[in-house]
């Protein structure tokens, strides 16, 4: 008797769980080419997605009776694309996590990072910082997971290009805060979007206090580096003091709560910017000195064999900006560019290929691109520079999932993984390929009509978006 009651209860619970998910019914795509990424390509097979998860995939998978059937003849199914470093899904128009400045000029005063100015409001200090103790340009405690929203209109445009997931980071200041891995859902509760709430600390080397002399500490690159070093020394010391206090607080001065250090201690990895070879060398050594698991981002000069060799040696992954350097449009025609600058522009898009052959773990990221046409063309440029199509897909699916430690959930079409899929007519990244359907957490979306990457001219521009 008791048993049967329990059974009924369980059944009820299960029903309820299903009912919750059933606003998004099971989907089966059959007779489609399936690019699993983790295994061989299935020439003709079926994928079933239920309750937001991949229920089954294979050549002879039966289509469940209750599933919405998609006739996949002529279609290809890929895992949803992942943007390895993004600002998508954030409520304000964060300036893109751009590290792309005009290539080259290795000399004095060469820019290390971005042109984005951290808005004064985001910087926590009052007045110019007088030293590291004022924790300038630091919001390390911030978790962007607490701020994500589907109202960011870039979500729809990115999804239309096949992206289902983004590792979205706050990008303002030196310690900007922790990023989150989010699914690019629409009409969802923010909490539903978040896959991993703390994906690592975003560090930039942009001058904190307003730049120039007198704008507060730090103003030079070496000041920023020294500040970061001091923070990690302080964090280690803070931990010691806190532990001792927790053991026995009697007669011990209370350690002063420091949210900047708390944020740093909570971060399980750091992201450091590095574009030029010199910067790659510098940041790899710096991360090793700080004893922090690190991911480099930018990677403009990773096409150089020395850079790839270094990354291999330090066994550090790199997120490669897909915003390949271009000749500045308003460049002075009289300007003589250095051989190095020219070479960087010529070779930048061969970086994925170079990293691939060197055996370096890497992923591609949008770096401010969010229009399907631009994203697709950026990937195409790397393919044209020698990257195989399979490797390009991996660099936008399984590789970013591995880099962020979520390959057990994302990045390939395998049973049990999250139901993030892109269904296309034609090969992904081809000029005339059409994205037919996107599944995010098993929810079906179709690309915005004007956003489909048709490859033709005059594809969408909406300057008003995200203002």
């Amino acid at each position: 008797m008791k048993q049967s009651i329990a059974k009924v209860l369980t059944a009820l619970l299960v029903c309820r769980a299903i009912a919750l998910a059933q606003s998004h019914p099971a989907v089966a795509i059959s007779n489609a080419k399936i690019v699993t990424v983790s295994g061989p390509v299935i020439a003709k097979g079926t994928v079933v997605v239920r309750n937001g998860l991949i229920e089954a995939v294979g050549e002879n998978v039966p289509v469940p009776a209750d599933a919405m059937l998609v006739e996949g003849e002529g279609l290809t199914v890929y895992p949803g694309l992942i943007d390895g470093l993004s600002t998508w899904g954030q409520p304000y128009t964060a300036p893109a996590a751009s590290t792309t400045v005009t290539a080259g000029r290795g000399g004095r005063g060469a820019t290390t990072t971005t042109t984005t100015t951290p808005p004064a409001a985001a910087v926590s200090t009052v007045g110019p910082a007088r030293g590291p103790e004022d924790r300038p340009a630091t919001t390390s405690w911030l978790k962007i997971a607490d701020d994500v929203t589907f109202t960011d209109r870039r979500i729809e445009s990115a999804r239309s290009a096949g992206f289902t997931t983004a590792v979205t980071f706050p990008t303002r200041g030196i310690f900007a805060g922790q990023g989150a891995i989010i699914d690019l859902l629409s009409d969802a509760k923010p909490g539903e979007m978040v896959l991993v709430p703390a994906a690592g600390q975003y560090i930039s080397l942009s001058r904190g206090g307003g730049g120039g002399l007198g704008g507060g500490f730090p103003s030079a690159l070496m000041g920023v580096i020294s500040y970061i070093r001091q923070i990690y020394l302080d964090a280690a010391h803070y931990q010691l003091v806190k532990d001792a206090y927790a053991k026995d607080p009697r007669g011990v001065e209370r350690p002063v709560y420091d949210r900047a250090l708390e944020g740093v201690l909570e971060s399980k990895r750091i992201l450091l910017p590095a574009n030029r070879l010199v910067e790659i060398d510098r940041m790899l050594r710096f991360a090793a000195e700080l004893k922090q698991p690190a991911i480099l981002y930018g990677g403009r000069e990773t096409f150089r064999p020395e850079a790839a060799a270094l990354l291999k040696k330090f066994n550090t992954p790199v997120l490669l900006s897909m915003r390949w350097p271009e000749k500045p449009r308003d460049a002075d025609p009289e300007d003589v560019e250095s051989l190095r600058t020219l070479e960087t522009r010529d070779k930048a898009a061969s970086a994925p290929m170079a990293l691939q052959s060197a055996g370096v773990k890497y992923a591609l990221y949008s770096d401010g691109l969010d229009q399907p046409r631009d994203l697709q063309r950026a990937v195409k440029k790397a393919i044209d520079a020698g990257l195989s199509r399979e490797d390009a897909i991996r660099a936008l699916t399984l590789s970013p999932a591995e880099i962020f430690g979520v390959a057990d959930r994302l990045g390939s079409i395998e049973k049990g993984k999250i139901g993030n899929l892109v269904v296309t007519r034609g090969d992904l990244f081809d000029d005339h390929t059409k994205v037919e359907m996107i599944l995010v957490d098993g929810r079906k979306y179709v690309p915005a009509p004007d956003a489909a990457p048709t490859g033709g001219r005059g594809a969408t521009t909406d300057p008003g978006v995200n203002r």
Binding site: G215, I225, L233
Partner: protein, 449 residues
């Protein structure tokens, strides 16, 4: 093909230094006079110098008939090869920053300095603060990475600055480039500069005592929590311990005396006075403190505190017993320090050797690296410069530069390689133009980005 593409990084691949014999040269050893003879370079070191030498079998011969060899030039004051600014000017004590963190081995100024015979340069933080950042000497090993540039084992330094620069004379209240809302940075007077240095060392003394107490207790097996490591005070503690050299930017006699007295009072040494244009007025006091002086040959009047300079400064200080070097403080001047040294012969009547020492052996002594470099003697690093003519002349051109027995600059290769590099460049320019002429598909631009 690739080698042309990456001239800077690939051409110079140094596996192990070759054995060389430089023959028939006029050798200005600086330490032991000038002679006509040969130099044997082996394993990166000078193994023999003399009129007759034992030429090792298999050595490569460099025939320097009619040419001159001098020790590699050492610039005691340079700001090249650093990324992202050389001034952390936001605070009056910026000892937490370190040039070592921002070495840029790809700065073309390195190659140009090399082409001017410079083999070692002391890369200094700027002079925006009474106490500036940490510094270090680099060897101009063009083609090596940042770590490969560092002069191994050299004592690191720290920059101090007195006078107009640290008190921010001529700048808006908050400093150059600062918004008007930024308040003025202390100090604004010479008195304030002195006070800032004193305050910093008072702090450093307390810090040092704290660490010394901890180290003593730890040595006895104590298990206390160590004091907080403070990157600002750490280098000042090292100065107090004599482990770090102070290189102090200064001009006026009064401020020079002030600094020497403060240093004496706190029990540390000023290793070099930099610029030190009024050094001739207080040369005796400088010598008594044991400070070196690194000055310009004839560069002055670019600001009020630099008006009372004379070209005899270097020679006068030298005659009063100060170790004097001539520096560049500038990427361009750095390329002809040999003729800067020559000026000391005209103004002050120094001998050839004495003049040349001011850009070789003397800066080596000032930087504490004279056991390794600065003169042509057996056992020293094979940092050598071959000139076609008398090296203190304006007409002399550098032919070859060796560092650690490896040729890092070769005029013939440089000149003959230019056409190929130009062609490579043109090819890339043409390729880019061609691509641009195709129907341009520009990335979609968004407003407000």
């Amino acid at each position: 093909m690739n080698k042309i593409l990456l001239p800077a990084l690939l051409v110079v691949v140094h596996l192990s230094a070759e054995t060389y014999v430089i023959r028939n040269a006029t050798i200005m050893t600086v330490a032991k006079g000038t002679l006509k003879g040969s130099i044997v370079v082996k394993d990166g070191k000078i193994s023999e110098v003399g009129e007759k030498v034992m030429e090792p079998a298999g050595a490569k011969i460099i025939d320097a008939a009619g040419q001159y060899v001098i020790p590699g030039i050492i610039d005691c004051h340079s700001h090249i090869a650093a990324d992202g600014g050389i001034n952390e000017g936001s605070v009056s004590v910026s000892s937490m920053v370190d040039i070592k963190d921002v070495i840029n081995p790809e700065d073309i100024a390195i190659y140009r300095a090399l082409a001017g015979g410079v083999t070692t340069a002391n890369i200094l933080h700027g002079s925006a603060n009474p106490i500036g950042g940490q510094t270090l000497p680099l060897k101009m090993r063009w083609g090596k990475d940042a770590q490969g540039m560092i002069f191994e084992g050299a004592t690191p330094g720290i920059k101090f600055a007195l006078g107009e620069n640290p008190k921010r004379a001529g700048n808006p209240a908050g400093g150059r480039g600062a918004p008007p809302t930024v308040p003025a940075r202390y100090p604004a007077t010479r008195m304030g500069v002195e006070d800032t240095i004193r305050e910093a060392f008072n702090e450093a003394k307390v810090y040092k005592a704290e660490w010394d107490a901890y180290d003593a207790s730890a040595a006895k097996g104590g298990h206390g929590i160590p004091p907080r490591k403070d990157l600002k005070l750490e280098p000042l503690k090292e100065v107090l311990e004599g482990k770090r050299y102070v290189h102090a930017h200064c001009y006026r006699a009064d401020e020079i005396l002030m600094l020497l007295r403060v240093a004496d009072e706190f029990g540390f040494k000023i290793r070099t006075l930099q610029h030190v244009l009024e050094g001739y007025k207080v040369a005796k006091e400088i010598a008594a403190h044991g400070a070196g002086a690194s000055t310009f040959s004839d560069w002055w009047s670019y600001k009020v505190e630099a008006f009372d300079a004379i070209p005899y400064n270097a020679a006068i200080m030298q005659k009063k017993g100060v170790i004097v070097s001539l520096n560049s403080d500038d990427a361009e001047l750095m390329r002809h320090l040999n003729s800067e040294a020559g000026k000391a012969m005209k103004y002050g009547g120094l001998s050839e050797t004495e003049a040349l020492a001011m850009v070789t052996l003397n800066p080596a002594k000032q930087l504490g690296i004279d056991n390794r470099v600065g003169s042509i003697e057996a056992g020293k690093d094979a940092d050598l410069v071959i000139y076609d003519k008398f090296p203190l002349s304006d007409y002399a051109k550098v032919q070859k530069v060796l560092i650690d027995g490896t040729i890092y600059f070769d005029r013939d290769n440089e000149v003959s390689g230019r056409a190929a590099k130009q062609a490579e460049k043109q090819k890339l320019i043409d390729k880019e133009k061609q691509n641009q002429q195709r129907p341009q598909q520009a990335p979609t631009r968004r407003q407000g980005q």
